[in-house]
Amino acid sequence: MTARMSGFPHQLQLTGADYFILALDRQMRQGGMPGNVCRLVLDLDGALEAKALRAVVAQSETLNWIASLRMIRWLPFMSPRWRTNGARGGLPVALRAGEAGAGGREEFNRPLGEIRTGKAPGLNLELIGRPDGSTRLVLAWHHALMDVRGAEFLVRHIQDRAAGGAAVGTVAFNPDQTRTGPLDFWRGFPARVRFGRESLAFITQACRPPLASLALAQGPPAAARNQFRILRFSAEETRRMDEQVVRLNASFRRGMFYLAASIRALNAVFRRRGRPPESVLVPVPHDLRKRGMAGPIFSNQVSFLFFRVEAEALGGLGEMTADLGAQMMEQIRRRTPESFATVMELFRPLPLGFYARRIKQPTQGRFATFFFSDIGESLAGMETFLGLPVREVTHLAPAGGPPGLTVIFSRHRGRQSVVLSLVEGCLDEPELELFEQALRRDLLSEAKA
């Protein structure tokens, strides 16, 4: 018998997106990658005492509860669920000395420790004291446990707790997930199947081969590494980027502008390789939370939109931004994200191996050309963390092979960042340089040298 934490459920359903992400985790690990583990990195001016952070962590019921959750499945073909083991003080806070040089960026490529969902906490915190006296805080978590927005809510929660603001409180979980009765899965089943079919038909069509891919023909090496390249833009460059958005009349579809620029950058790499143009498929996560919500922290509250650009339509930045914007509008009109969220829920009872194979089927194993996410303003308004100024916020999403590349756009305090997360070997150094140059050129409206 395990202890219960007051105010927190003993068990919850996985969301459909949690299970979908777990299937991707399986795929990544089979490809020799570290798994679907994300990191949120805060670079702080000044030294942060591990003791202070540990004290906040120890006092937080929310953190203790999340650290105590483990994924279980009672029987095959029964939906898996999260269940607390009742342990307190389970969230590890590690302390490490950072290395000098290159602004500590080489540390991002350091191999990750093992983070899984079954036996140990699915998240941990690491404090890295840097030689210049600054501190790097790294929150690493298994992606099935929460999404990027949830991780940001968690950081805000730590900050609120440290400031003594228990009442400010973020929402820890979605109460709908506490319905774990045997009949809950079957409620409204026929209607949900009908609703889900609509997006399945659309997605199967969108995912049809042939698709451009970076995936290595022979697959990644047995123990491939995840490499990161981080593009930072100054406040002045970010302002120029905003002007470019206005010029292209993309103010209300900024994410589509970023996506179009990323597709064009990748296409420049394919051209250098001498490959004929192929159609591009990019799934983009869509946050299902209402705007302005302070949670939930826990679980993935997302669905996806699917963008396809045909080989013959790989053209100008403005045209592609408009085309992607029209695709976004059409999918939201058809309620594709809600329908796909229903599909993901319906697939939860499937055994993971079968599910992972089913996901790969429409693209014949390629998944996508690359994964993409525009996080928008990251930790908006957070100027300090535990009393120290926040210098940078970096989101490190994992890459899987296939597709081999994940592109993440985010902004903090008026400065844009782009993280390229790669499976080692999918792009070599000159190709990465080319990708970066092409992306900068489009984002900043620079003439080709």
């Binding site: 009349n249 900024r254 994410g255 209402k290 705007r291 302005g292 408009a322 976004m328």
Partner: protein, 94 residues
């Protein structure tokens, strides 16, 4: 000028939609609020434009989807009132 709708009615309907469907904390939101200040992103704005299509029968053309027209509910309402209806309205405005 669209004779079937008036600025105040459109503002009321749009504000109610945003408060009920898009925002978790609608307190303080009104027709003059900057949409971006309340965290309304691209996806939310698309929802809002689709609501305009359904409710007022008006499709906002590409050229009108400017930063100025999407700054607030009042700005969007002024834009809508200046456009002709392209489809039947879902219901008559109150």
């Amino acid at each position: 000028m669209n004779a079937r709708i008036d600025h105040k009615t459109v503002c009321d309907k749009l504000c109610r939609f945003v408060q009920a469907e898009l925002l978790a904390e609608p307190a303080g939101f009104d027709e003059q609020s900057r949409l971006s200040d309340f965290g309304l992103d691209s996806f939310s704005l698309v929802e809002l434009l689709l609501f305009c299509e359904r409710t007022f029968g008006i499709v906002v053309p590409e050229a009108q989807l400017t930063r100025e027209n999407l700054e607030s509910i009042a700005a969007l309402s002024r834009c809508l009132c200046a456009l002709p209806a392209t489809a039947p309205m879902e219901s008559q405005p109150e």
